[in-house]
């Protein structure tokens, strides 16, 4: 009996080992690809950049801000959005039936008044309660509607938008003033571009002034600090790596730019999923493949937006649960694309990667830990081998995190002070003890939720970022 169990365990361990090698090979390819991409980006931005300022014929951009119970952050977000350095900008805020005073805060601050305005595209199914404009800020439109979820709010915002390009941001996102200027460029430089996204950084701990990050600091809260490392890893070698390979399928809902006509033609955001950002990109890309249209989805490292990371385990758990449910839902929904050469690299490499190496990763990790534990218990595993293997895995994780932080430092803009940097390196060293296992549990919980068909968002409590004067508009911007 023990011998059979040992045999089964040995097989399981080999399976986990092969999985481990596949994951690491995939990540190594992405890392190399990301480094090459970053080098090329940095070479291009060596000289002084005049930007797009003063350039005629730029497409109008509409910033879409869905807001549900965001009274703590909404002024900061709208002020930052309107302070973006872009010549033809419009901001559409959709108050998604907030139960707090989100709308009242906006009405007070921007002296909003009801306006007679029809949507620029089709929308009659949503219960719009009112549309507001501001004499002092003519580029601002606020749409008040019944609660219907984030995707529905984004669709309403798109209906009221007049820009050729639409930029979806979360209500807790603060965009760097030059970020849009950089993000618009792929649309000017390559007619195949259907979407582009930038880097999201964790704003906790940073010093803000007039809704702009003026000093970058490492978060003091432990969970936020660990997430800062995770964000660098996700964006700067995950998405940047896929970029060079042409396989980007995720544009973060917190900061992404889309061709509005394409989004409308595709039917807008799906409102029956919690992974609406990835779902939209997959739908846009699959439709492009099906119609034989060349297309590109770009991730750019230099346009930066800041977001507030959850600081309590409960909020973070809900977020990770939702992200994993979203991933599962989107992959199941688009399962017919997986492994199909008709969908190019996306079908043959990217989606299998996400399905096998991202979605199933927590389950495999738990299975690996269980088999190792049982193996030890029955003496089927060589302790020295297990220790060396654990060291290899730990070292590899350390390399990925350090490489991401090194790449982060090579981006233009804010640099961390020595103290903050040392602290951040400390978090890199300890993140695999405890935190990683917690995220595995949260993601497993998300998988279970996906199996149950749970599509709830859960309540996201936010503290708000420390801005000196959050509601004060930057002079000269409409």
């Amino acid at each position: 009996m023990t011998e059979t169990l040992a045999h089964v365990l040995a097989l399981a361990n080999w399976a986990v080992l092969v999985y481990f090698l596949a994951v690491n090979t995939g990540q190594a390819v992405l890392l190399i690809s990301a480094a090459a991409e970053l080098r090329s980006t940095n070479r291009e931005s060596r000289g002084p950049d005049r930007g797009l300022r003063g350039m005629p014929l730029l497409p109008r951009v509409t910033i879409l801000v869905p807001a549900y119970d965001e009274e703590a952050l909404i002024l900061q977000t709208v002020t930052a959005a309107m302070a973006i350095d872009y010549p033809d900008l419009e901001v559409v805020v959709v108050n998604d039936g907030s139960t707090d005073s989100t709308l009242e805060v906006l009405i007070d601050r921007y002296e909003l008044r009801p306006v007679q305005r029809l949507p620029t595209s089709v929308s009659s199914v949503w219960e719009v309660r009112g549309v507001y404009g501001s004499d002092s800020h003519p580029g601002l439109v606020v749409v008040d509607k019944e609660n219907g979820g984030k995707a529905e709010s984004l669709n309403v915002a798109i209906s009221w938008a007049s820009g050729r390009l639409v930029c979806a941001i979360d209500a807790d996102t603060v965009i760097e003033p030059d970020a849009l200027d950089l993000l618009v460029r792929p649309f000017l430089d390559d007619h195949r571009t259907i979407a582009a996204g930038g880097t999201i950084r964790v704003a906790n701990g940073c010093r803000l002034h007039h809704a702009r990050v003026v000093e970058r600091r490492a978060p003091e809260n432990r969970l936020a600090a660990l997430q800062a490392v995770e964000y660098a890893r996700a964006f700067l070698f995950g998405r940047l790596g896929w970029n060079r390979l042409g396989g980007n399928v995720i544009i973060s809902g917190a900061f992404g730019l889309f061709d509005r006509a394409m989004v409308i033609a595709a039917g807008g955001y799906a409102d029956d999923t919690v992974g609406e950002d990835m779902e939209l990109v997959l739908r846009l890309r699959s439709e492009a493949y099906e119609s034989g249209r060349q297309h590109r989805v770009f991730f750019l490292p230099n346009p930066v937006a800041w977001t507030e990371a959850p600081e309590t385990a409960r909020t973070l758990a809900r977020q990770r649960n939702r992200w994993h449910r979203g991933l599962a839902d989107v992959l199941v929904r688009h399962r017919s694309l997986i492994g199909r050469p008709r969908y190019g690299l996306m079908g043959t490499v990217v989606l299998p990667y996400y399905a096998l190496l991202e979605l199933l990763a927590p389950a495999v990790e738990v299975a690996g830990l269980v088999t190792v534990a049982v193996g030890f218990a029955i003496g089927a595993i060589d302790g020295r081998f297990a220790l060396l293997f654990a060291l290899v895995a730990y070292g590899y994780g350390l390399i990925l995190s350090l490489a991401a932080l090194t790449m982060d430092e090579h981006l233009e803009g804010f640099h961390l002070g020595i103290g903050d940097r040392v602290r951040q390196l400390g978090w890199v060293v300890v993140e695999q003890f405890g935190y990683r296992q917690l995220t595995v549990i949260w993601r497993l919980w998300g998988m279970a939720g996906a199996v149950r068909g749970d599509l709830s968002w859960g309540r996201q409590s936010r503290r708000g970022l420390d801005d000196v004067e959050p509601g004060r508009a930057v002079a000269g911007r409409a």
Binding site: L57, L188, D189, L391, L398, L425
Partner: protein
């Protein structure tokens, strides 16, 4: 197996040390930059003072020469980008006195595209003329060609430059064609002859870019030159041509536009709906409203909504009528 794992661990340790060393190097470089900052600020103040007084004194040059060559170039470009408009002779003088012009010259000759690009970026920010940079309009790298187009229009806004730029309208790179279009648009009427030349080109890409540009410029003279292209077989080109001739359209063209509204190509239908709005063809408000309610293409429906919005109170009335009947959600 254990030996293999130990080798992997050793390799990982080397990689970790290298990455940590890179972090340390970055910290040191940042620290060094912080230490240099007062000198850089001093030089920046000196350049601003020189620009304000229109006189580069010895102290300005000394302040700049105390910096590293890279910092010198950065300070000049920073001030040029934020203080003055292009082609200020002061920057030309300072650039030649502190060696920036020589470094740009050598950068323009480099075999590495990123060095040529950086040199051209400095040239564009400082607004300096340079005969060698004109040749970069034919550079093998599209990034360099695109920037050369912007630079050329800034420093030499003449018909000759427009003619050179109009050749780039047929470039294979989207970025180059876009920047050339922007540069030609910025040149104003000086560029109209060059655009006309491109409209008559045998190169379909160049013709298409020129039609789109003519549509954006909206000049009746250019629109007349586009008129013969309205029957182009390519629907995309035809759609652009329809937009370009909008300034010439009147009630006598209603039948023609109505026919275009029923075209089998959605791009053509969308363009026809657009010109109903931009040319104020009130007689076609009904067929456009019909497009809002019945067209299978979201692009056409959206163009039709925008067109009715441009037709004043009658258009808005129809728009509300359409809204009541329920716009199709794609």
């Amino acid at each position: 197996m254990a030996v293999l794992l130990m080798v992997v661990i050793l390799a990982e340790v080397i990689a970790i040390v290298a990455l940590l060393a890179s972090q340390v190097r970055h910290v040191l470089r940042h620290r060094h930059r912080q230490l240099r900052q007062p000198m850089v600020d001093e030089a920046r103040r000196a350049v601003v003072a020189a620009v304000a007084s229109d006189q580069a004194t010895g102290s300005t040059v000394r302040a700049l020469n105390e910096l590293s060559p890279g910092d010198r170039d950065d300070v000049l470009c920073d001030v040029a980008a934020s203080v003055r408009s292009h082609q200020d002779p002061m920057f030309q003088e300072l650039a030649s006195l502190v060696g920036t012009a020589d470094r740009i010259e050598s950068g323009l000759r480099s075999r590495r595209w990123w060095r040529r690009l950086a040199a051209l970026q400095r040239l564009a920010v400082l607004g300096l003329p340079n005969p060698r940079a004109v040749a970069l309009l034919d550079d093998p790298d599209p990034r360099v060609r695109a920037l050369a187009a912007q630079w050329a229009a800034l420093v030499d806004p003449t018909g000759l430059t427009a003619e050179r730029l109009s050749r780039l309208l047929g470039d294979q790179s989207d970025r180059v064609r876009h920047r050339a279009s922007v540069a030609l648009f910025g040149l104003g009427p000086v560029a109209h002859d060059a655009v006309r030349l491109a409209l008559g080109s045998g190169d379909a890409t160049r013709r298409r870019s020129a039609i789109a540009l003519a549509a954006t410029i909206g000049d009746p003279g250019l629109a007349s030159a586009v008129w013969p292209l309205i029957d182009e077989p390519d629907p995309g080109l035809r759609a652009d041509a329809i937009r370009a001739v909008a300034p010439l359209l009147g009630d006598q063209h209603i039948d023609m536009v109505e026919e275009l509204l029923d075209s089998p190509h959605r791009g053509v239908r969308g363009a026809a709906a657009e010109v109903v709005g931009s040319a104020g063809l009130l007689g076609l408000a009904g067929p456009v409203a019909n497009r809002i309610l019945n067209d299978p293409s979201a692009e056409v429906r959206e163009a039709a909504i925008a067109a009715l919005g441009q037709l004043g109170s009658s258009g808005e009335l129809l728009l509300r009528h359409c809204a009541r009947y329920g716009w199709r959600v794609t």
